[in-house]
């Protein structure tokens, strides 16, 4: 165990250094690229914290989908930004902001160093939920998400839907109901089409695989759904498919399917198992899998729509 500490220290310095670069860079696009690299390194840090599930989410959401979102925004805004960026804040403001930042970071660091020992933990409760009433889930994180803290997970899907509605409503009134702007160029290059044709089917399989193993191994609905979303975006970037019209019925059904199924089964639990979001022991595992399938669908539809942005162009009606 002599190499690991060096690796950890190097990794920590790299992450903090990239964060500093993201804040300090003069060029907008350089800052965006720095942030994307930072997201990649964070996935490595999460592995070192023994959190492969989080690393997988960070890699899929932070590295892939967010990267596309930010690079697109950075390139669009970079074309606009010419002279306005020169407005440098006053030195006094810099000092005050620096002092405040230093104080907050220092306080947080002090908290980190003086955390109580032994650490408080909810691990036994989570382990009970994993073994719990007939669930038999080998992956405690999936158990926490679906059973122990199921209300959080359901509301988090609602947040995704609210964000999609928010993004849609930013568009012009006349465009309501139309499709978002295409993600790719009108005539995509051959190599990009080929790449999307290779990646999308393989990636869809990997996404389903990661969802499927999530009951017992690192993985699950979030990670699988994010990978599926990324593959849909790959197909859209190569113009193999277009963003759907936002008034399409299938689209709206797919968006609400995750939380709706979750809620319905939650209420059914009230009658059948005596508690809100309680699963009848005999069917717990199939029920959880059923809920997760619809959650994957909702995530895979919501994330690309968030990246595609508000509807664009004229509504047909």
């Amino acid at each position: 165990m002599s190499v690991l500490p060096i690796l950890d220290v190097g990794l920590a310095f790299l992450v903090v250094g990239l964060a500093a670069w993201t804040v300090a860079a003069r060029n907008l696009f350089a800052s965006v690229v720095g942030y994307v690299a930072y997201g990649l390194l964070l996935a490595l840090v999460w592995i070192r914290l023994y959190a492969p599930d989080v690393a997988l989410t960070e890699a899929a959401v932070g590295g892939g989908v967010t990267g596309v979102l930010l690079i697109t925004a950075g390139k669009r805004l970079g074309a606009l930004e010419k002279d306005e960026a020169g407005a440098t804040p006053a030195l006094a403001l810099k000092i005050v902001a620096g002092a405040l930042a230093l104080f907050v970071a220092g306080a947080l660091a002090w908290v980190v160093v003086t955390l109580p020992d032994p650490a408080p933990t909810l691990a036994p409760a989570a382990a009970a939920a994993a073994d719990g009433p007939g669930a038999g889930l080998g992956n405690p994180i999936t158990a926490v998400l679906i059973s122990y803290r199921s209300f959080d997970t359901m509301l988090e899907k609602v947040v995704l839907i609210l964000a999609v509605i928010g993004v849609w409503s930013v568009g012009a009134d006349s465009a309501w109901g139309a499709a978002p702007a295409p993600l790719g160029r009108p005539q995509p290059a051959g190599a990009m089409v080929l790449l999307a044709q290779i990646l999308a089917p393989i990636g869809a399989l990997i996404g389903v695989h990661i969802f499927w193993v999530g009951a017992d191994a690192p993985g699950g609905a979030f990670q699988g759904g994010a990978l599926l979303a990324a593959m849909w975006m790959a197909a859209m970037m190569a113009r193999l498919t277009e963003p759907p019209r936002i008034d399409a019925r299938w689209l709206r059904l797919a968006l609400v399917a995750g939380p709706a199924v979750f809620l319905v089964i939650g209420f059914a639990g009230l009658g059948l198992a005596g508690d809100f979001f309680a699963f009848p022991p005999a069917f717990a595992k199939p029920l959880i899998l059923f809920i997760e399938t619809f959650m994957v669908l909702s995530i895979a539809v919501a994330l690309p729509l968030l990246v595609a942005g508000p509807p664009n162009g004229r509504s047909a009606r």
Binding site: A191, M192, L195, L199
Partner: protein
């Protein structure tokens, strides 16, 4: 037999590390974007490929070995396509 495998792993991973090193040196030192692209592809394809080759004898199961090869294949496909696209964009004078 296992010592032989270890030696093979060691040699392949060492060579892989070397290619990452060479790719980085090229990315830093080469004078223009096209030559830097060339250095990057070496690290992408050969560096990762040799490391996958070195880890293959250590895979526990056929699935693990398949995953290793699949990872390399995905990176190869991505690297080759994006290198071609970047090269074309550079030749047209875009940046």
């Amino acid at each position: 037999m296992s010592a032989l495998f270890d030696l093979f792993s060691f040699a392949a991973i060492g060579a892989g590390v070397f290619f990452f090193f060479a790719g980085t040196v090229g990315l830093i030192r080469f004078p223009d974007s096209l030559t830097r692209l060339h250095a990057l592809s070496k690290a992408d394809n050969l560096g990762l490929g040799l490391i996958v080759l070195g880890l293959l004898p250590r895979a526990d199961s056929a699935l693990a070995a398949f995953k290793l090869v699949l990872i390399w294949a995905l990176v190869l496909a991505s690297g080759a396509s994006t290198a071609q696209l970047i090269g074309r964009a550079l030749r047209r004078g875009q940046k």
